[in-house]
């Protein structure tokens, strides 16, 4: 029996009965994303004000309109129109989704960004940080009210190269999780050091009734057999 993995994954069950794992993003990476957005907004406003300064009175009016748009709508527009990613979030590989994994909509995005005001109270995101740290999926108050979630964007996967080995038929029946573990061992071998590979394989040396160095090839062979001919 394997214990459920010790991580922050958040399962969404779809109407098709599939469990989709989402990976909520923690305080630190979100703070960095926000800092990037803040800097970017400052930059945009600075540039625009310089341009608007040449327009005189009209520029002042336009300027305060712009200040309004940038300070209250920057996040909302990006989140809704750019698949839940403001530039800062995009940079840090994050995105905003609804609790059920669907894209964030206008009302949810507006809500979570309006309530940002409360998260910032009494200074420097204090309430938001507290709420984020104590919540199992790292929600700040705005996320709680809007029913949204900040998650890591899925990275594109590259097919792992399985080590060459002669297919070996397992001597006994494998349970599902044992089968997954052996396949995982073979798939991850490129990322592991020699010593670690040996260490992992030697755990299974006794049940397989071989000495540790042989266990590596044995396990790879079993993985190859499970996968089937290429």
């Amino acid at each position: 029996m394997l214990y459920p993995p010790l991580d922050t994954r958040y399962q969404v069950e779809t109407p098709e009965g599939i469990d989709l794992p989402l990976r909520p993003a923690g305080l630190m990476v979100r703070a960095l994303a926000f800092a990037i957005d803040l800097g970017l907004r400052g930059l945009i406003l600075g540039l625009l004000f310089m341009v608007l300064a040449f327009l005189g009175k009209l520029g002042v009016g336009l300027g305060s309109l712009l200040l309004f748009v940038v300070s209250w709508w920057y996040m909302v527009l990006f989140e809704v129109l750019n698949q839940g990613r403001s530039p800062g979030k995009q940079w840090m590989g994050l995105r905003v989704v609804q609790d059920d994994g669907t894209p964030v909509g206008w009302s949810a995005s507006l809500l979570r960004n309006l309530l940002r005001f409360v998260d910032m109270l009494p200074f420097g995101y204090f309430l938001g940080a507290i709420s984020c740290l104590q919540h199992p999926t790292f929600k700040r108050l705005g996320d709680l009210a809007a029913g949204t979630l900040v998650i890591y964007r899925e990275q594109s996967l590259t097919r792992p190269q399985l080590p060459d080995a002669q297919p070996v038929r397992p001597a006994f029946d494998l349970t599902l999780s044992e089968q997954r573990a052996i396949l995982g061992f073979a798939e991850r071998q490129d990322e592991l050091s020699k010593a670690r590979i040996l260490e992992l394989a030697s755990i299974l040396a006794q049940p397989l009734q071989v000495d540790p160095p042989r266990a590596v090839t044995e396990l790879n062979g079993m993985a190859r057999a499970l996968l089937g001919p290429a």
Binding site: T14, P15, E16, G17, I18, L20, P21, L22, G56, K57, L58, G61, L62, G63, S64, L65, L67, F68, W72, Q83, V97, Q98, G101, T102, P103, G105, W106, S107, L110, L111, L114, L115, R116, F117, V118, L121, L141, L144, A145, A146, G147, E154, L157, R159, P160, L174, L176, S177, Q179, R180, L183, G184, A186, E187, A223, L226, L227, G228, P229, A230
Partner: protein, 325 residues
């Protein structure tokens, strides 16, 4: 079935699906869109099979990614805002305001009560104003509404470009206040109550003070027109905030988080109406309230008409059975 055989059989399908997903994500109308739900459910079946047969993590993870992307394209929350703006303005918003009448009443009492109450107090005891507003600002205000000096200390009417300046300023300032009043309701409604009363006291202090000095004419004729929309909007924003707070204080049979989420969904619609009101108010304030050409009587009449309009709208719009949906 071995994993490699499974992959061989379905790889073409998955690649095709991923191609269509890419098109959909970039917002292009994809070809063969009619088959999308079917393809998606087939993919779900493949994922379930792969998990059940203990295939390798790489295959399961990449199928999971495809399913997640498909899920995000197939299931979306219909935004109730964008769907029918006209229906919301003509019927949805006033209905919502009436539905939440308890909060609207409470917010209205806090805001208008403190406004009128403090205005009277300051009118009777003029020194009170200095408790709330610093002395320099008071004298600034006085010169601004001085009937001799014309509006805003200028003898001529403002140029069109200046109306534009003020329009931008009013939007920034007023909608900002409304947003604050709403958002701080999350602090058990205390924040909203504070901002409602604070703004009520400030406006009341200014009104009472100017009336005491006999500048009532310039002040009221300036304020009455856009006040219909602006003051109502602030009160409604407060009501939306109180609703948030109340969901936390008395969630009923729901868990607090759930009650908050439901209340927030409704209150954000109120806020959209509030923004609309404030846009109208900023427009009136910049282009009508600031003109000094019409006689004060005209301004009072127009102002009264606007107040009547807002009241009628909130009380009666969308009551008919077949109101525009």
């Amino acid at each position: 079935m071995k994993q490699s055989l499974f992959e061989q059989r379905h790889k073409a399908e998955w690649d095709q699906f991923s191609l269509i997903l890419g098109q959909l994500e970039r917002g292009k109308g994809a070809s063969r869109i009619g088959d999308f739900p079917q393809d998606y459910r087939r993919l779900c079946q493949h994922l379930a099979l792969a998990q059940e047969r203990g295939y390798s993590s790489f295959l399961i993870d990449s199928l999971q990614q495809l399913v997640l992307r498909g899920h995000q394209q197939l299931y979306r929350h219909r935004s109730r805002l964008g769907a029918n703006v006209a229906g919301f303005i003509l019927a949805g918003f006033p209905r919502l305001v009436r539905e939440q009448w308890r909060f609207v009443l409470a917010a209205g009492l806090m805001f208008f009560g403190s406004l009128i109450g403090f205005a009277l107090l300051v009118y009777l005891f003029p020194d009170l104003v200095y408790n709330l507003i610093p002395a320099e600002q008071v004298s600034e205000l006085q010169s601004m509404y001085d009937p001799v000096a014309g509006h805003f200390g200028r003898t001529t009417e403002r140029a069109a470009s200046e109306d534009w300046v003020m329009f931008g300023y009013y939007i920034m300032h007023n909608i900002g206040i409304a947003f604050q009043t709403f958002a701080s309701g999350l602090l058990l409604g205390l924040g909203s109550a504070f901002f409602l009363m604070f703004n009520g006291l400030m406006i009341g202090a200014v009104a009472g003070h100017l009336m005491h000095f006999g500048y009532g004419q310039t002040f009221w004729s300036f304020v009455i027109g856009h006040g219909a929309f602006e003051l109502t909007a602030i009160a409604l924003a407060g009501a939306a905030g109180l609703q948030l707070g109340w969901a936390l204080i008395a969630p009923g049979r729901l868990p607090r988080a759930e009650a908050l989420r439901l209340a927030a969904g409704k209150s954000v619609l109120l806020i959209c109406g509030v923004m609309l009101f404030l846009l109208i108010a900023a427009f009136i304030e910049a282009y009508w309230s600031s003109t000094t050409a019409p006689a004060p009587m005209t301004k009072y009449l127009v102002g009264a008409a606007l107040w009547a309009l807002v009241t009628m709208y909130l009380l009666f719009a969308g009551r008919a059975r077949h109101a525009p949906e």
